[in-house]
Symmetry: none
Subunit: 149 residues, 2 copies
């Protein structure tokens, strides 16, 4: 039970008990616990996952940080998230969105935007390039959102 990862996990869990969002310094933590910095990544990636209700973002460079956010868990949402571990086609996604609107998890406007964002037109791409797909999604949403208003 006394492996460093568990100890670090407890430490972080304790820190995020009060606030639902905290900023960590990878190097400071590693230093504090006398471990390698990548150990912090290990702890985060094995214990602070989406499945367990955590979201991690970070920034490098001077003043960099690791931001940990505790995510809300709702039973409808949990079911949906489970389904979304698998690939899903547009129609399936649409059904899920309708369902979420019905259950007041998201609003109709939010659903509209999301369905544009995940339409085939937005996502089908000859090349697997993140930046390329990103601009395609935004373009698709923005072009169509104007029509709707």
């Amino acid at each position: 039970m006394s492996n460093i990862s568990d100890i670090i996990e407890k430490f972080i869990l304790d820190a995020i008990k009060q606030d639902s969002e905290i900023d960590l310094s990878r190097n400071e933590l590693a230093n504090f616990f006398g471990c390698s910095p990548s150990q912090i990544n290990y702890v985060l990636s094995t214990r602070f996952t989406l499945d367990r209700g955590f979201d991690v973002t970070s920034q490098r460079g001077g003043g960099g940080y690791i931001r940990l956010v505790r995510v809300n868990e709702d039973s409808v949402l949990r079911t949906v998230l489970n389904r979304l571990k698998e690939p899903i086609d547009y129609l399936g996604a649409k059904h899920i969105l309708d369902n979420l609107v019905y259950n007041n998890v998201i609003s109709e406007e939010e659903s509209d935007i999301l369905s544009l964002a995940v339409s085939s037109k937005a996502l089908s791409s000859p090349i697997n390039n993140e930046n390329y797909i990103r601009s395609q999604i935004l373009r698709n949403v923005l072009v169509n959102i104007k029509r709707g208003k």
Copy 2:
């Protein structure tokens, strides 16, 4: 966190909150914040871009200045759609979304959703499969959507 660039950014944002156009002195600013003058250029070029709705002009020589202007609302969407003909990284997208919110083209909620939808986490993918990316996007959005501000 505490990197000077963020602090300077806040300072300038605050200054331009009242007037939609301000003149800055590079040297004075650098002096005030105790940083190198070129740091000011760094802040301007990374944070006060056209994508974010700012236009920067300047004059050298005695009595020189840096003029910051918020761009005209009408041209915003056109500029953005034009920009989106090219691939775009996450930070660029975020800037565009902020700008669209500022100009009332989309709401803050819509921006929040979209920025989750096009985050690196949502889009980075080992395989170029539409359905796979779709579920990833939705998952990423839904997991984070409930954190009320």
